[in-house]
Amino acid sequence: MPAAPTPETVDALMPEVAALIIEALNLEIAATEIEADAPLYGEGLGLDSIDVLEIALVVSKRYGFQLRSDNTDNVRIFASLRALSTHIASQRTL
């Protein structure tokens, strides 16, 4: 298991990941409008499974690892911008 990323690393990564999501999904909002701890699914940003696969593709190209739902909880990874950024920080190879 890679070491857990520090809160500072995650904080630093979040704006970049927010921008990536907005670009991948063509959302009409500013990166700062994605709240760090609001849910990405459902009530928050309202993402669905199509969006999640699109994000997975850009994440894999940008950070050099493949998302998995078998060994890590898909719902947990996409729980919030912070959760996704934490997962990326712990798995990235690029």
Partner: protein, 443 residues
């Protein structure tokens, strides 16, 4: 009584029925589990089987069959749908193996299966019995129940297995589609019962999950998927184990994507055409050309521009939502959907239904959904134009989420002072298209 067995009697009790991460379940294990669970289901005529794991779904469905229940399989699980099901089917309970929200419906957590001695008792089921109800959203706005008898389902499964040649050469199936919906139900679950094909228990989602699931089952392999998942899998560009066959449905594959998949995976990509109302109707190998070939015994007839399917496993006559050109030799071309019908990533609905739902939200004065022209992607998105002076965008989206499947949520939702209705009160498609174009210029 004309009856048919739960599963193909040629299957030996020791053969694999399902591959699971913890090891294979044999036909004998499956039968033992089904009999065991049948005695533990609560009373009631209906079962909402929400198990995501294909093996647990299969055990739950078979247990329901043995216990005399009918399986309800809605197209979405929105709070509205759950509410309606609870009202229409008294005593309904939901068999769950995950966190799925079930509203007010009682939950039956899928029990941990004890170690059971393999069983060789294959139950016989009355062919005339209604065993499953699959729901479509229907163009009238209300979910339409499509009732399936056991006889029709078995006939459907055998026709599907035969047209793909799986009866002669069973494949190990990995499916990316939900087992409860028409396509996944026919092409994973029914093929496991009456097509001789062992199934992978999981529902892999990310490309790497699909690669791992394929690697977890022996050759020959059949991947049951959709254009959307297939396109994501190819875009990921990861190593894949050999996949002998790929089956796609829910929306037509482009010849380009099919050719790329065939080359990249050294595989054969076939498509199934069908509807929830009729079950599967036709198939094609996409790279061979655009024509579809009807399954044996399926007949298409045309009246006044509409196409009707009948024969074989089709119950009565089913009106199809697609514009079809018939060709000789029981073949046909799909020319597109009738204008009102929407298909996004395999989920179907109609503009009439969506418009009904959005206009029913308190505070909405006028509203219309629109599918913009010129979206050539695998997954087009809807636009909604809304007049609702007292509501914020977020309130509107939250209210819509209660009513419709998230896939149909508008992106974007455009707030206006009035809609461009003409003198007769109609909303011309061209006017909505012009609004979309105008908006794009501002971006």
């Amino acid at each position: 009584m004309n009856s048919l067995p739960l599963l193909d009697r040629k299957r030996a009790p020791g053969e694999t029925f399902a591959w699971r991460p913890e090891g294979p379940a044999t036909v004998g294990d499956f039968l033992a589990a089904a009999h065991w669970l049948a005695g533990r289901l609560p009373a009631g005529d209906w079962l909402l089987n929400l198990c995501e794991d294909r093996y647990r779904f299969a055990v739950g469905f078979a247990a329901g069959l043995i216990a005399g229940k009918t399986s309800l399989q809605p197209s979405s699980l929105s709070p509205e749908t759950l509410h309606q099901l609870a009202a229409d089917y008294p005593g309904l309970a939901a068999l769950c193996d995950g966190e799925t929200e079930t509203g007010n419906l009682p939950r039956i957590p899928f029990p941990a299966l004890p170690a059971l001695a393999p069983c060789a008792d294959v139950p016989e089921i009355d062919a005339e019995r209604e065993v499953a109800i699959l729901f479509t959203s229907g163009s009238t706005g209300l979910p339409q129940p499509q009732r399936k008898t056991w006889g029709r389902l078995v006939c459907n499964a055998r026709a599907g297995a035969s047209v793909l040649g799986l009866d002669a050469c069973p494949h190990n199936i990995v499916g990316t589609v939900p087992i409860q919906h028409s396509y996944g139900f026919e092409s994973t679950f029914l093929l496991a019962l009456h097509g001789g094909c062992p199934i992978w228990s999981g529902k892999p989602f990310f490309p790497q999950d699909i690669a791992a699931a394929l690697a977890a089952v022996p050759q020959p392999r059949l991947l049951v998927t959709t254009p959307f998942h297939l396109s994501a899998l190819l875009a990921a560009d990861i190593p894949l184990p050999p996949v002998e066959r790929v089956l796609s449905a829910t929306a037509p594959l482009t010849a380009e994507l099919a050719a790329r998949a065939e080359q990249r995976c050294n595989t054969c990509v076939e498509e199934i055409y069908g509807t929830t109302e009729s079950g599967q109707l036709a198939s094609r190998r996409t790279v061979d050309g655009p024509a579809w070939k009807c399954l044996p015994e399926i007949i298409l007839t045309q009246k006044a521009g509409q196409t009707v399917a009948s024969g074989g496993h089709v119950e009565g006559e089913v009106l199809l939502g697609d514009v079809i050109e018939r060709l000789p030799d029981n073949k046909f071309l799909l020319l597109g959907r009738h204008a009102d019908l929407i298909n996004i990533a395999g989920k179907r609905t109609s503009l009439a239904y969506l418009n009904h739902q959005i206009n029913a939200i308190p505070g909405v004065v006028d509203a219309a959904f629109h599918l913009p022209d010129g979206d050539e992607s695998e997954t087009p998105r809807l636009t909604a134009f809304v007049v609702a002076p007292a509501l914020e965008r977020q309130q509107l989206l939250a209210a819509l989420r209660q009513r419709i499947d998230p896939i149909f949520l508008p992106r974007p939702l455009i707030l206006l002072d009035t809609l461009p209705r003409n003198s007769t009160g109609k909303l011309p498609r061209e006017a909505l298209q012009a609004l979309c174009a105008k908006r794009r210029q501002h971006d």
